[in-house]
Symmetry: C2
Subunit: 311 residues, 2 copies
């Protein structure tokens, strides 16, 4: 039996579609009558405190999110394997966001918009893509997809990750000791890291000060991962004093971003309301119904979270 | 002998570099003493009215620009073959501009910037690249390069050109009779056409009205070719009445764009001062010195303009 436990999304729609995809397999929602001991899988998004109560026969926790940092903090999280959503459609959308913001900053959008407001015609030629280095933090599924999209555009690429990752055309840096060298050659910093104790607050004043100052206006940061990665007071200062030329932020320490946040009014801060990418329902139904069918047929689970790494 | 005749660029620098690249071959500038009958090549950018006077032995006209529309209108243009600059570096920069503006509009930049100004947190998920169709007008060197960069990003692509062009992954439309069908499936229209009598003013009210209305906010135009392609009063109206969702313009009917143009103040009009791409000096020196050396050695000229087509 699969128990649905989705908050803040259309649980009824997911349930109907998973029922259809899973044929005879029983899918139940909270509130329906069922025996908790019979639940073998639970499908969660923002699970409540009592989500896992009484689930003695749980074989796997299926997470709608690709990031499981919040889930791992659940006070009553059972010891069952957690399968996270690896969604090619989500990777595509995330890369769409990353490419749009990388290219906009590379083409000096902030500068030309200010000139337009002043009705000023000042010809300045942006560098070619090959003259600009994009540094990607995080080389998981999302980081690799972003690299794969940015490479054919001609950008110089480098990556930073916990363990070394060899991606053709991308200069790899790994571990804390390589972080400064990674930053020293980066013009546009893209964050796609998982949120772990080690990466919390990594987008801070010290990090910004180590970026290369080659791009007109100053280095740029793009955060499409988690608000917990960033120190927003540091970002506001860095944008205002020129340490950073611009920032594109899709995530925030508190969401929705509070109406009194200073970030809203900063001209070179580009805010989107956590919409870089969303898990697609039809892709998700296909993915999770396959996971359950395969596992019921005795095949191993895929994309299981490593709890010690945190992702 | 090669005669230099470049206006509005650093002619002295080009001359010095071409002299170095061409070894013993004689390169002269206007004002120096030389016999016009000895000039076999003239290298031009915005040639003055008397540029070609007395050049009885001319074998080729070398054009620094990729577009030769202005040159073809020169009242005293000799009958010699015109070699235009096909510059891979210029193609890269032009594609950088195109990709930056396509992706920014695809990600609904105008909408999110308005929300930011209003401190409004409204989650709206942009379509995936694959759900958005970019229509490229002009499938010459620049159009093909833009297609090559946009394809790996996942966009649906279609092209419109005078004669059919088969590019893998791009749905081709050719000729006047296919123009309406081309527009009917286009969400973001990119103009990279040569400026000819047939394409003058092609970005007009009638064209805008035929574009697909699928993208949130309305269809978008991007003009990186020539100001003569656009009717700016039509663009201003279409942006103001919602026929167009946004326009990115790098070129204008009059340049610099007059300070009293209504375009400057239109929020969803994105103006850059004809900086999408510039011919690169070192690439140009290599290209044109090779053209001269090859031709002097008896090999045929490449990239010769077809005067009846106009490019």
């Amino acid at each position: 039996m699969l128990l649905m436990h989705l908050s803040d999304v259309d649980e009824a729609s997911w349930t109907a579609k998973l029922r259809a995809a899973l044929g005879g397999y029983r899918v139940v929602q909270r509130g329906e009558a069922f025996n908790p001991d019979d639940v073998r899988y639970i499908f969660v998004w923002k699970p409540k405190a009592d989500a896992f109560d009484g689930l003695t026969g749980l074989k796997a926790i299926l997470s709608l999110g690709a990031g499981v940092d919040a889930l791992l903090k659940h006070p009553a999280l059972p010891d069952a394997p957690i399968v996270r959503f690896v969604d090619t459609d989500l990777s595509q959308r995330m890369s769409d966001y990353v490419v749009a913001h990388v290219t906009m900053h590379h083409r000096l959008y902030t500068r030309f918009r200010a000139d337009q407001k002043a009705r000023r015609w000042t010809q300045l030629y942006p560098p070619a893509a090959s003259e600009t280095t994009v540094g990607i933090m995080g080389m998981g599924v999302l980081g690799q997809d972003a690299a794969r999209r940015l490479l054919p555009l001609g950008f110089a690429l480098r990556s930073w990750s916990r363990t070394p990752k060899a991606i053709e055309g991308v200069e790899g840096f790994a571990g804390a000791e390589a972080f400064d060298s990674f930053l020293a050659g980066t013009d546009i910093l893209v964050n796609l890291l998982p949120l772990t104790p080690e990466t919390t607050g990594i987008l801070n004043t010290e990090t910004f000060g180590k970026l290369r100052r080659k791009l007109d206006g100053g280095p740029v940061i793009i955060n499409a991962a988690r608000g917990g990665h960033q120190r927003e007071t540091n970002i506001a200062s860095a944008l205002n004093d020129g340490t950073l030329g611009a920032a594109s932020l899709d995530v925030f320490e508190t969401e929705p971003l509070p109406v009194n946040s200073p970030l809203w009014d900063i001209e070179n801060c580009y805010i989107t309301p956590h919409i870089a990418a969303i898990s697609n329902e039809s892709t998700g139904v296909r993915y999770f119904s396959q996971i359950i069918r395969d596992h019921e047929a005795g095949r191993p689970l895929i994309n299981v979270v490593d709890r010690t790494r945190g992702y």
